[in-house]
Symmetry: C2
Subunit: 212 residues, 2 copies
């Protein structure tokens, strides 16, 4: 039996979920219960994937040694990124908090398994990147489900993906799609941090819609 998605209040609250989902960089350090995390990962598996390839691979990064390697990789990449900005931009960039690697109780590296036969190649002959895009929809599903449970997520991309894959000793064919921090957010906001601090503003649909 198909559920009734027109039930009163559901769509408005879904809309609010989309409006309040943030890329979180400020975490409390209290743990996420194990069962809650696994439930969220099972929901992430409901994401669409090209040819039902399900190429997502979730790696929990728990050991102090592995986390230290990631932390150091971020530090170096962030330093290099900072050096690419000048003047006021550089000052603003330096003040941004771009990772929650020291506080977030849960860290997940999410990979795309390019070597798996699952899906039998369907739908990715002309667009092989569909495999990676499928992993992105799983990451996004996790993000929304976590937010609905009061858990914040931050996607750290200031990392060298190949070095991280080496540090984490992944199987051949695995490619890093996302390095994620999860935990209770220290604060919640409806406005993105990059907008609040004046890095960027949000665009209207009219700026982004064309027709053919």
């Amino acid at each position: 039996m198909e559920p009734d998605f027109t039930a009163p209040g559901f769509f408005p609250l879904l809309t609010e979920l989309l409006r309040w989902r943030r890329d979180v960089r400020h975490f409390r350090t209290d743990e996420i219960p194990e069962a809650e995390l696994l439930d969220l990962l099972r929901l992430a598996q409901l994401a669409p994937s090209v040819g039902l390839s399900q190429p997502w691979r979730f790696m929990r990064v728990r050991s102090a040694a592995a986390r230290a390697l990631v932390r150091e990789n971020f530090r170096r990449c962030n330093e290099a990124a900072l050096s690419g900005y000048q003047g006021e931009d550089a000052a603003l960039y330096a003040r941004l908090k771009l990772a929650g690697l020291d506080q977030a109780p849960v860290q997940l590296a999410v990979f795309c398994d390019g070597a798996s036969p699952t899906g039998r190649g369907l739908g990715r002959r002309t667009m092989p990147e569909m495999l990676e895009y499928s992993v992105v929809t799983a990451v996004h599903t996790l993000w929304l489900a976590a937010r609905a449970k009061g858990i914040g997520m931050g996607w750290v991309s200031i990392l060298d993906p190949e070095e991280i894959a080496k540090h984490l000793q992944v199987p051949p064919g695995w490619r890093l799609i996302a390095y994620l921090c999860l935990g209770r957010p220290a604060e919640t906001h409806i406005v993105p941090e990059l907008e609040r601090v004046g890095w960027e503003h949000r665009q209207t649909l009219e700026e982004l819609l064309v027709e053919r």
Copy 2:
């Protein structure tokens, strides 16, 4: 004021939405009201984007000429894909319905604008693909919001993305991320079509989770 995502029934229905979201290939031909479509696209804009880059560009493909070019591109790419399968796989592939291009009332080409300065490069120095991944999260947001409104979406990837970009005369720097069909679904299912017809099955979390 932050909404209460713990409101009774919300998370269960969100879970059902994730479980019932399908990649739809069988559409009814009745139109989607214009205002409803624009509302959905505004929700898609709430998706996360690296550095608040908002690189998504939505193109409504409405003209018969543009649609015919896309249809013909799909036909050729699908024929080439079919020739890559043998025996029973080929027979099964030939029976699959892999696009809804003839029925879906709404067709959207979604591009990533790689030339836009928005976001000022933040977060994509080491992972430039983050820009494309951002567009994927907007596509996925649209998918979920549409499903909640009873509108099905199908992501057609059996297309040559560069040829499609040429056919649709996009500005320089735009790259095709997704070609989408939207409309009322002719049927709804909780099980993916590729699983129903025996192309692929779904994996368990235990198969996909590792630890470091």
